[in-house]
Amino acid sequence: MKIGLEMHFQLPTKSKLFCSCSTEGAEPNTHICPTCLGFPGSRPALNRKALEYGLMITKFLNCEINERIWFSRKTYFYPDLPKNFQITMYESPLGEHGYYDLNGKRIGIWRVHIEEDPGRIKRVGKSGDEVSLIDYNRSGVPLVEIVSAPDMSSPAEARDFVAELLVELRHLVGLSASDEQVARCDANISVGEERVEVKNILGLKNLERALNYEVSRQTKMLAAGKEIIRETRAFDEERKVTMPARKKEMEEEYGYIGEPDLGEYNVGEFTNGLVLPETPIKRAARLQRQYGINAVTAKQIVITSWGMADLFEHLCEKIEPDKVVPKLLGPITSNWTAIEQRLDDNMRAQICRVIENDINGTITDSEARRAIATIAEGGNHVAEERTVVADELVISINEFLDAHPETIKDAKSNPKAANSVIGHVMKATKGKFQSKEIVEAVKKELEKRP
């Protein structure tokens, strides 16, 4: 089975690709101007940030960068396309022949480029009789297009690929919004020899569903000895099936030419000088290698929060990673929202101390858990801990002494008499307190009793 994907993600620039209209959501047709409406006499001007984001993504995907790039016109007629041509990149993508390592498997990246989005069509009326209402807010918004090689072998793998890519790109350039809104995919899938294309799939869940349906459909056909036709299909979100795409009246001829209004761009120097920040999945892989933790843990740490991964690495400077992990996945995670808000050097030091104390036996595991919760709320580890200890322990000891007054008398002449108290209290407090602490407290309480 071979699956390849063509993905479109909106780049998080403030203004559109070729004009200074805002890219934010708004009432229909409010972020518009002559350029993104295609008015005669208007002209494009390229957004620097969009180009930079595109180049960062291209470099991140290990592509060979094209030194010299230019834009092209892809001409076709559709109501959502203001100029009836789209300014895209045809012969000179930003980069080619790249790859992405998905859990050790290399997925080829054929090309990466940027282009403008058309407007958004709202269909009104009965199916088959629909007219269009168009909102040009989206017209001219910058998109990055990433085309992969057909290197994926299952729908789940395809979904994981896009999910991971989104995590990485979100950190790299700041792709916003949920996975559902952001990921627009066209998929190519062949179970047998022939390739079927499914276009315009929105979101990860639908991607996996559409591909699963295709796998099942193609497999059934092959089993029945039927031939699979090479065709383009669409995914019906409601019925969760793929259907042959509506027959277009005609085959479009894009007739690509260069876009003279923009000229060309020499991007080699800039891209070579780019230092990309470490992205989550890559960081997880490094944590796994560097600290000997397992892959699942590493990913969980990084995906929970960047700050948590930072804290992990900080703690590992002083403490064995395998001792840090349980605390991290346990009380630090459960209190993370509070910790994240107030995290500073003092808090880091306190958390570090708690874990160290737990390791060397000064406090129990449960004490450590409570301590971290306290620290998260802004409290202090040492002082309050003692108070809590004192109350419960004292109560337990005195309960026993009240029930067994002869122990008090015995203990005055025989120190070993205290052992029964100690033993009972230990059982009763179920290991909350260290033995040393219990011995001390019992001694103290006995002394108090006449």
Binding site: F39, P40, R43, L46, F77, P82, N84, G255, P260, D261
Partner: protein, 445 residues
């Protein structure tokens, strides 16, 4: 200095020569005493107070929300915009006879064409004193009408003047320029309309314009330019060269430029491929003539209004341009033409190594009669541009100057300079102007 216009006279001139399709109505406008000169804008330049139709019925009703940058700059310099001048539809033509509105008439003989596609602009420059006309050239649309109407027409280097607000014909070929009876006006207003404009990226890599007088000494005359021109034009042209030699001490050397034979096909292919994409937006939506029947399938919706409103020449060029960029033909036509542009530019550069400017006649004949034009086949019309096409294809600045008359009809000669050397053209034009007896058309009383 405040400009004075006799509105009645202007209207009468326009009624006769059909220069403007939209003319200022000063009675209904506030009096503007701050204007120091008048100018006109070719109908493919956007202005807020007039419609911009680029000579095409499909844009009827389009009232732009902005001024084209060259228009804005002339206004800021104190100019009063008189109106929009008639032109060939979208610039497709050599005689302004492909206009979707009125066809302008030659100021020297109303039975003859003004030339095109900036026909109205040239007529305005010839007929209105102290007037500077904004024209646009893609393949020679400033030079041709300047030559036929006996005025100076300067086409700047591609990228010198911002094209923001210009309704596109060919984005790598269009240039906004000036037509006027006097070189003084051209010298004054070229720097005004020039300069980097962030709204047009192709205007942003120019060296700053600097007009200064210098002595032009050596001209090159490609022998290819003398083939296929009428004997009257040739003799008028040669007489002018002799005059330059005797009175201005300018030497003319014959050179050979064999790559010029590729210029016309390369030009028409690049121009029409670009135009066929520029014109795709005219489909009955958003601006121009609306297609009201939304119950039609979008392909029919689009085809209907386009077929009804585009003229024959527009359709022909759209077909040609669409074809030349289709799979299977794109390499042979479109990409090859890009290569040819570079080839011809290189050849020009080697000529400029040894010469200040290149000189040729502007057009192979004087302004033809309308009934002669009606008999011309497309290829014949395209071939009429063979002298103006090479500098336009390569984006080189050029100046058409009146150099003589055949009977009443003007003949023009064209100077071509290296990229960005408008200064050399202006020096040449001014020198020539001093020794040439310019005739103005006899305007009716």
């Amino acid at each position: 200095m405040s400009v004075s216009i006799d509105d009645a006279r202007l209207r009468a001139i326009n009624d006769k020569y059909r220069i403007f399709n939209q003319l200022i109505d000063r009675e209904s406008m506030e009096a503007d005493d701050s204007s120091s000169f008048t100018f006109s804008a070719k109908d493919n330049l956007c202005t807020r107070e007039f419609q911009a139709r680029a000579g095409s019925k499909i844009l009827e009703g389009y009232r732009p929300p902005f001024d084209a940058t060259p228009v804005r700059k002339l206004r800021e310099a104190g100019g009063l915009l008189l109106g929009k001048t008639n032109m060939d539809e979208f610039g497709f033509g050599t005689f302004s006879t492909n206009s979707g509105f009125d066809i302008p008439l030659n100021p020297f003989d109303t039975g003859r064409a003004c030339g095109g596609s900036s026909g109205g602009a040239a007529a305005a420059a010839a007929l209105i004193e102290g007037h500077v006309a904004l024209g646009v050239s893609t393949g020679g649309s400033i030079s041709a009408p300047a030559s036929f109407c006996g005025v100076f027409g300067l086409t700047p280097t591609y990228g010198r003047v911002s094209r923001y607000g210009l309704i596109d014909y060919g984005n790598s070929l269009d240039k906004v320029g000036l037509l006027s009876r006097s070189m003084g006006d051209i010298k004054m207003f070229l720097p005004v309309i020039s300069g980097s404009d962030p709204k047009d990226p192709t205007s942003c890599t120019q060296p700053r314009i600097q007009i200064s007088q210098r002595k032009i000494k050596r001209l090159a005359l490609p022998k290819e330019a003398l083939a296929n021109i009428s004997p009257e034009v040739e003799s008028t042209f040669r007489y002018a060269l002799e005059k330059m030699s005797l009175e201005l001490g300018i030497a003319v050397h014959e050179v050979s430029m064999p790559s010029l034979r590729f210029a016309m096909p390369a030009y028409y292919i690049l121009a029409t491929t670009e135009a066929s994409t520029n014109l795709a937006r005219y489909c009955g939506m958003r601006f121009g003539v609306p297609e009201k029947d939304v119950s039609q399938h979008f392909n029919d919706f689009f085809s209907g209004v386009r077929s009804e409103c585009f003229g024959q020449e527009a359709k022909r060029r759209i077909l040609l341009g669409t074809f030349c960029r289709m799979v299977g033909f794109r390499d042979k036509y479109y990409l090859k033409s890009l290569a040819v542009r570079q080839l011809i530019t290189k050849e020009y550069r080697s000529v400029f190594d040894e010469h200040d400017l290149i000189v040729t006649p502007t057009m192979p004949f004087v302004a033809p009669k309308f009934d002669e034009i009606a008999k011309m086949r497309p290829l014949e019309m395209y071939s009429a541009d063979f002298l103006t096409i090479p500098p336009n294809l390569t984006g080189l600045p050029h100046l058409s100057a009146p150099c003589g008359y055949v009977g009443p009809m003007p003949v023009g000669m064209q100077f071509v300079a290296p990229h960005w050397d408008e200064s050399g053209l202006i020096s040449m034009g001014e020198e020539w102007e001093r020794v040439f007896q310019l005739k103005t058309p006899e305007v009716m009383q």
